[in-house]
């Protein structure tokens, strides 16, 4: 696969749940190996956008391409196993241990048991939880923040090149949030993953992003590097949404 092939591409995508278009003739290119954050008011279509990448939602018209291949032509099960996904509601399986939860995608792919144990250990370390202490616990024995970290580890388990994250750090305390943000940036530098990251936290969005996409009512209001957005906000809405005080700080 060529390096210049975009990780994800939306071409003239329209999505309608039955009461008007959520997205309309939507175009977007997400370059490979970058962290792209998607921000925008609640209900603007962020989750919808994310779920169209792994075919949890099908568009009414237009096409979505993943690494150059139109997703509608791919087997959805295969496609999803090769894309990491952290859902907004965490969604850990309550009847499975942390280890079983983390290793679920590799298990679906038929990887060997022995490799899984090792992999789980590495991932738990990566997200800052002691493997000895946590691997055989059940999700209800973890705090909300710890559960959310497991959700992230689970998405990384099969080493996908693209990871979709829907507000993955929303339940974390500020300290572990910052820690995980750093880990994510480090991870991305080390293994060049494409991370599509939805968040409500503007600080977070600006901090981790190579590219920020600001949505409103299904339209891209502005996209660019965090510096681009702060230096040249496209409209008052951008200024307002990012927070006026940020611009004061920035211009000083």
């Amino acid at each position: 696969m060529g390096v210049d092939v975009a990780a994800v591409q939306f071409k003239q995508v329209t999505k309608n749940y039955g009461s008007g278009n959520v997205l309309e003739n939507f175009d977007l290119t997400i370059p490979s190996g970058q962290i792209v954050t998607i921000i925008g008011p609640s209900g603007c279509g962020k989750t919808t956008l994310l779920k169209m990448i792994n075919r949890l939602i099908e568009p009414e018209s237009g096409s979505v391409l993943v690494e150059g291949q139109e997703v509608s032509t791919l087997n959805p099960v295969e496609l999803r196993r090769n894309i990491g996904y952290v859902i907004q509601q965490i969604g850990l399986f309550p009847h499975m241990t942390i280890e079983q939860n983390i290793s679920i995608v590799p298990r679906l792919k038929g990887e060997k048991k022995k490799d899984l144990v090792q992999r789980t250990e590495e991932l738990l370390q990566l997200i800052g939880l002691d493997p000895q202490q946590f691997r055989s616990r059940y999700p209800h024995e973890l705090s909300g923040g710890q559960q959310q970290r497991i959700g992230v580890a689970r998405a990384l388990a099969s080493n996908p090149s693209i990871i979709l994250m829907d507000e993955p750090f929303s339940a974390l305390d500020p300290i572990s949030r910052v820690q995980l943000q750093k880990e994510l940036i480090k991870l991305n530098e080390k293994v060049q993953k494409t991370i599509v990251f939805v968040t409500h936290d503007i600080d977070e969005a600006l901090k981790i992003a190579d590219q920020v996409i600001l949505l409103k009512d299904g339209f891209i209001i502005q996209t660019g590097t965090p510096a681009n957005l702060l230096e040249a906000p496209a409209s008052d809405f951008v200024r307002e949404f990012l927070g006026a005080e940020r611009f004061e700080q920035y211009s000083i």
Binding site: L56, R81, F93, P94, Y138
Partner: protein, 216 residues
């Protein structure tokens, strides 16, 4: 009391034989009911619009007095084991169907979405997520049905299907309390033992991660 023990000793082989028939009737009926009601309950969760109609229809069976239901079998199937099993099975359908429907349908949507998003097939979601989480609810239905079927199988004697009911009706005909007890006590014991067995099995099968939800 002495008389009771003497009679019991004499009747023991016969009691064992009737108990065997009784277990046979009940077990087969409950198994068939499971084989019908569990898949149906699962399928209905995908067709919520018809689910209510189906469940209401099945629940009508429950309103027929059991003795009458056994009677209704005679014109179609005659007498014997087969019609008795069918009547018992019909009675057993509703609780299993209802619990399967509620249990599978009640699995948190976020879990199903997480599973789908990670690339589980629908079968894998059913086997790896929905069934394990719903299992104890379904098993509660099966336990209820097992208890109900064992006690109802006593009536099967009226259509010559055998079982411990044979002993009880003979005791009634002879107005002999000892004989009645020789039929009734094994039925009660069976109910208690089966109930405890299924309770224990459910506890054993429930993963630690789900126990907090299934206390009581």
């Amino acid at each position: 009391m002495d008389q009771f023990w003497n009679t019991l000793q004499a009747d023991w082989p016969m009691i064992l034989q009737k108990m065997g028939e009784h277990i046979n009737l009940s077990l087969i009926s409950v198994l068939i009911a499971c084989l019908i009601a569990v898949p149906t309950g699962i399928i209905l969760t995908a067709y919520k619009r018809v689910a209510n109609t189906v469940i209401t229809t099945v629940s009508v069976i429950q309103t027929i007095p059991s003795l009458a239901l056994f009677g209704f079998m005679i014109p179609f199937l005659g007498i014997g084991t087969k019609p008795a099993i069918i009547a018992l099975t019909l009675y057993a359908l509703l609780p299993i169907l209802q619990n399967t429907y509620v249990g599978i349908g009640g699995v948190n949507q976020a879990l199903i979405e997480a599973g789908t998003g990670m690339g589980m097939t629908r079968w894998q979601i059913l086997w790896m997520v929905q069934l394990p989480i719903a299992r104890s609810v379904i098993m509660a239905g099966v336990r209820l049905v097992a208890v109900q079927t064992i006690s109802m199988a006593t009536i099967a004697t009226y259509i010559a299907a055998g079982g411990l009911g044979d002993i009880i009706t003979r005791g009634i005909a002879m107005i002999n309390t000892v004989t009645i007890m020789e039929g009734a006590i094994p039925v009660s014991l069976l109910v208690i033992v089966v109930n405890l067995l299924l309770l224990g099995l459910n506890k054993l099968l429930t993963p630690k991660g789900l126990r907090q939800y299934t206390r009581n």
